[in-house]
Symmetry: C2
Subunit: 469 residues, 2 copies
């Protein structure tokens, strides 16, 4: 009996029965109470520990339920056979990579992010409240695996009028970020598929394919975008392109290359084009360029869109338009995946589009970004006349060629020392081509997040960093 | 000149320049305007079409930007070389699997869903409004890739006090549903990993591994859960188990088997246990069973939790606790994935937990589910005395063995004819074992969604369907 002795603290936050339960459990795990050891009866132990019978009974029942002890009829409680835990070295306090400290720049030409001051917060707030007031249990029903029907309808309407994408709402799959949509496609297509990606291109695409262990080939660009001959030689089944405003070069893919790509896809049944229209809404002369999808008559283009550039990166809603035959495959194979976007968020966005706020917001943002862009372009022309601007006709970044004798790293570093962040172009080349650095260093400057009034000052720091020593 | 002739409709919603742009573009694509064809000058065409010069100029500029025509200095606009589109058969109106029509049952023993009437909607609504009022641009900042720090802190606190899981907030990764967490693990582990899954088990696990093309072995259960000998023979590196309330059998894994599993994992460096604690919050006698994670000292257990059972399936927030060495690997390899849950939703949930509402809600739900469960058990004992109940000590479903001479299919079908839905147990066996049907048919009855007052009537329909012919 002496073996079960502990001091019960009645003024502890832990109930007495739990203190007893934990004590006995630990004695069993440490082997101090051996297999088949008969525990004292409830009456004995309660008088020994000076506690109520209920305390002991509850502790025993918990231990019984968890399989540490068992009740044998008309005999009492016995310790079960429990293997000792084979201890291995206790997990060391491995220090893992801390979240990187955010370097704070005075002027940041990041290409992530949007103009935050312009987000229509009061409208968004109002719609959020309306949705939470009007719906209740409906928001608790499991949603459609491909996304809320009303959001898919709103997106289909928007795509038809604004991006030339002709699709039915039931061809749209809603998800959370391009990376999740690409993972759906990877699982939809055969495991032998080879993916052609643009080189240089968006760094994440590379990471997604690598970490999903699929074959991919980096296909070089020319002035029109992805080149057809190396694409053919890559034996790729699917090509991922950004025709509206290639990332990072800023090239708008001309009609001829678009049609060559579509012809490439039409030549083999298995081939598809994945059009990532990541900032296709923003063009600064004339109408936005219609999507590649709008030229496709054979169901060969998968269109991917998102709201991260047109609204905000935290609106984690993206979507893709699948050709009908892929949609059938999706429903057969993958509809067990639940749409990761909460129904609530989908309803808010759907109403935001349906009631015309999205269109208005886009028009407003086009104006704001047009101003920032022309401010940036004219500051560069004035203050950095030796630098060449490329890819500035659309999207939210431009490319600067700087031929002052400094290397790309030196350009970035000297700008950083002046408190200004710019991005090196060479990092967007994929492994095979990393060596193939441009002879004249190129830099990427995003202008969506930086404040318009800061642009002249920011370009002035670049002038000091690069042209006055 | 006659080649560019169309009627411009000034009362159309489409601007004149766009009508002209679309006409010329289609003529080029149809090959009616050949390569190097010189377009009429802006002045000529505007007078021919009786429209303003600006209309023609804007249309030409758009066509130029898209690469259909090009301006040659001091000469005019020419049609670019554009390959004809090689037409393939137009995508047929393939009919794809329509969303399955939802069969409506009078009484539904589904194991999906929760008791909707009990969701604390007014509190949730209030917190939603508070969050949207208090935050603004902060909600637009890109969040931490592993999830909002405050939500991870709230979850860590909850896990420590309620599930015996001792972890730091920075070991937690927030995602949207168990399927997304498993995909992270698949990408984190070597591609040669073999996964052991419970057989019978949750149907989705099978689908996730299959569609991600990884090796998995279905390991049979005994009365304590996953069996160790076949687990060893499977050469698995990771075992996915549901120790708190095995799905579908309802078994609570006893201490001895838990320790055997941990010893199995400790025996090889590569081995891990993935503990899916999908409804571990609900136990009907004594305290909830502590997690398997709470016994692990060597960093071998990955704990997965979700709010789909404890709050609502539409709260698409789940999380996992990674051992420190895996967390390091995650940050090195996979932190490019952005957390799919909107920051807004994370803040609402975090506050819901922090302010004690979650704990209160759980206590309330335990009471409600305990009542439903005991109502169901006593109705079965009274009305279906020949049926045997299993796995009813925890979770939100129980198993019924019905030995009346009918097959499983006949039992389900006859219940369906009475308007009541029950689930056949054999469907949860994975392929190799599908044949191995139980001799006595077993059915799965969930009781989370059905209304308490409907339970007696529902069981009465089962009596009529199964025991009175």
């Amino acid at each position: 009996m002496s073996i079960i002795t502990l001091e019960l603290h009645s003024n502890s936050a832990k109930p007495l029965y739990q203190q007893l339960y934990e004590h006995i459990k630990s004695e069993i795990l440490l082997g101090k109470l051996p297999t088949n050891y008969k525990l004292p009866s409830i009456r004995q132990l309660s008088s020994h520990l000076e506690c109520s019978r209920n305390t002991v009974k509850t502790a025993y029942q918990q231990l019984d339920a968890e399989g540490y002890i068992e009740a044998r009829p008309r005999s009492g409680y016995y310790v079960c056979k429990i293997e000792g835990i084979v201890t291995i070295e206790k997990e060391s306090s491995l220090s893992y990579k801390k979240e990187e400290k955010h370097q704070v720049y005075r002027y940041d030409f990041t290409y992530h992010g949007v103009d935050q001051e312009s987000f229509p917060f009061s409208t968004w707030r109002k719609i959020t409240k309306d949705v939470i007031n009007e719906y209740d249990t409906e928001l608790l029903q499991p949603g459609h695996p491909a996304g809320c029907p009303e959001l898919r309808t709103s997106i289909a309407d928007y795509l038809r009028t604004s991006r030339g994408v002709d699709c039915r709402p039931d061809q749209i799959i809603i998800s959370s970020g391009t990376e999740y949509l690409l993972q759906i496609l990877i699982q939809l297509f055969s495991e032998n598929y080879v993916y052609a990606i643009e080189n240089p291109g968006y760094e994440k695409i590379n990471l997604i394919f690598r970490s999903n262990r699929v074959k991919y080939k980096a296909v070089p660009l020319d002035a029109s975008g992805m080149q057809i001959k190396p694409l053919l030689e890559s034996n790729a089944n699917a090509a991922i392109v950004t025709p509206s405003h290639q990332f990072p070069s800023g090239t708008i893919m001309p009609a001829d290359r678009r049609i060559q790509l579509i012809n490439w896809a039409n030549a083999e049944k298995s081939r598809y084009i994945i059009e990532d229209d990541y900032d296709g809404e923003f063009r600064y002369h004339g109408r936005p360029i219609p999507s590649l999808h709008s030229l496709d008559k054979g169901g060969k283009v998968i269109y991917i869109g998102a709201f991260s550039k047109s609204l905000a990166p935290t609106i984690r809603i993206s979507y893709m338009v699948l050709p009908k035959r892929l949609m059938k495959l999706y429903f057969d194979k993958l509809s067990f995946y639940v749409c990761p976007v909460p129904v609530f968020e989908q309803k808010v966005l759907s109403r935001f589009i349906r009631d015309g706020y999205f269109e208005r917001h886009l028009n407003r943002m086009r104006k704001i970004y047009r101003e920032k862009r022309s401010n940036l372009v004219s500051c560069i022309n004035k203050l950095l006349p030796a630098a060449k601007i490329k890819g500035a006709n659309a999207g939210l970044h431009l490319i600067l060629e700087v031929d002052n004798g400094m290397s790309e790293d030196e350009l970035i570093e000297s700008a950083k020392n002046m408190g200004t962040r710019v991005f090196g172009y060479s990092q967007y080349y994929f492994s095979e081509d990393k060596a193939n650095k441009d002879k004249v260093p190129r830099l990427l400057l995003g202008f969506s997040s930086i404040r318009n009034e800061d642009i002249p000052k920011a370009v002035e720091t670049l002038r000091k960093a690069w042209f006055i020593y």
